[in-house]
Symmetry: C2
Subunit: 291 residues, 2 copies
């Protein structure tokens, strides 16, 4: 039935969803058990290098632009004047690179618990780390939940939760208690964004719960934006934005129309389009439509 039972393929099985995705690999480049997770890097035949954490595909050279652009730009173009940005997770530095494209940004702190991820990105994904020496960037390797706990009230403009799935090290990043603390450290008008799994697989579960938890944590506005992501479960992914005393259902459209960043996916039309959820998602979310 399956021709994938040899070491020419890396396969991720999404057991609960009865599906699996495979990439043909030519070489294993790295295999490290860090203090937090099992980190592998492969050379694939058609997707460039592939990073895997605890058996889950994190990114490939070929299609990471989709995720990194969509976790960064909708949030930064929604905030009126993003200056102080924090990234929890994001150790591969791809999100950091997108954030640093915004000229209004004065300081970005990235807090990933696992330095091995950044070391692997430096070796095997050089395109993702090439903005790391920007003087506005600060890389910390520490517990992001603890960092948020200790951060000052109302000190952040945009908070990006660029985490793995809500199991293992990232589990605490999907809880109301953590979201309440995120709300506390955002300035009024602040925007938080979190990767929020698959529209097809998770609209009635993780996405629905995250949106409810964000509202319970005090956010006044919530918006989930779907986008294609071929190497993630179902090939379709989402981010969910939340605004503190501001709406995340509109954004600085003029700024998007005028920017000269060399983006590959994010456009004015993509952002506008993503803000209206497909009817099947609205139904699964079982809440008053956001838009």
């Amino acid at each position: 039935m399956s021709p994938l039972a040899d070491n020419q393929w890396f396969t991720e099985v999404f057991d609960r969803h009865g599906s699996a995705f495979s990439l043909k690999v030519s070489e294993k480049l790295l295999d490290v058990q860090s203090a937090y997770q099992h980190l592998e890097v492969y050379a694939t035949e058609t997707f460039g290098n592939l990073m895997v954490l605890d058996g889950c595909v994190m990114l490939t050279d070929r299609d990471n632009f989709l995720y990194h652009e969509m976790i960064a730009h909708p949030a930064l173009f929604t905030h009126q004047q993003p200056e102080r940005v924090v990234i929890i997770g994001g150790g591969d530095c791809g999100t950091l690179k997108e954030v640093l494209r915004h000229p209004s940004v004065q300081h970005v702190t990235q807090i990933d618990i696992d330095e091995e991820v950044t070391k692997a990105a430096e070796r095997f994904f050089p395109a993702l780390v090439d903005a790391n020496d920007d003087p506005r960037a600060e890389l910390l390797f520490a517990d992001g939940v603890k960092w948020v706990d200790e951060a000052e009230d109302e000190s952040i403009d945009v908070l990006i939760i660029d985490s793995t799935d809500p199991v293992g090290p990232a589990e605490g990043l999907f809880k109301t208690e953590f979201l309440t603390r995120c709300h506390r450290i955002l300035k009024p008008g602040g925007v938080m964004v979190q990767q929020s799994e698959s529209p097809l697989y998770h609209s009635g579960s993780i996405i629905r719960e995250l949106r409810r938890d964000m509202r319970e944590a005090g956010f006044s506005s919530v918006a989930t934006l779907p986008f294609p992501q071929p190497v993630y479960p179902s090939g379709w992914w989402s981010v969910t934005l939340a605004g503190k005393q501001c709406s995340v259902e509109s954004f600085r459209e003029e700024a998007v129309a005028e920017h000269t960043m060399p983006l590959q996916y994010y456009t004015l039309a993509a952002h506008r389009g993503a803000l209206t959820l497909p009817p099947f998602m609205r139904q699964a979310l079982d809440e008053t439509p956001v838009s």
Copy 2:
């Protein structure tokens, strides 16, 4: 490396693209070698029933709404008054069902070469065929290329090419010669739409060639609309529209806003959003941007 080497999984390998997609199956429901192709139907654990033609996933209960809505509604809402519609291929009848939702439509002819596909849909995908007894619907089992050859000049409003991949039985549907004949049978103001493979895998090849061939066939306007489709290669798919003496870059937005069809994916925002291609696609297409 792979846990998929047993008969609990159906796996489709996309050899040229170095990737594969698998669904967990509980039972094989049908295995028929027709005069044209090898047809299988499986019960899956999480996607409902699955239809496979010559080893390629055609559709599942769970996510076929994406493809069927996107091959039908953008074309029908682009045409000013679609009355006479023809579907080449589409033997599962899912596209026919979407077309019949449009009250302006007076007659739809579906021409699929392989009656076994429709028989399988009747048995295993009853939701797709439940509009087949609409008096406006005509089902023919014949060679679509020949049918187009014999059709009258300027007799069709909307022509839908709902084919398999451009290899095997459907190869002839992706050639300039066929597109020229399609152009001939469309009325002025007519719209043709063709499934056009993956934005990630095929922008620089099949999609680019199809758009060029459509222009060479005499169409005055061409637009490719990407959309998510989890069970197809890369989880991301597209349709390409072409207009005969009309633009396919705009559509009847008021009619979309007002319709009461029970759709699950297609919305005004989805259509608008899809009309602007991501920058990486525009670059791969290597042509003057469509929009």
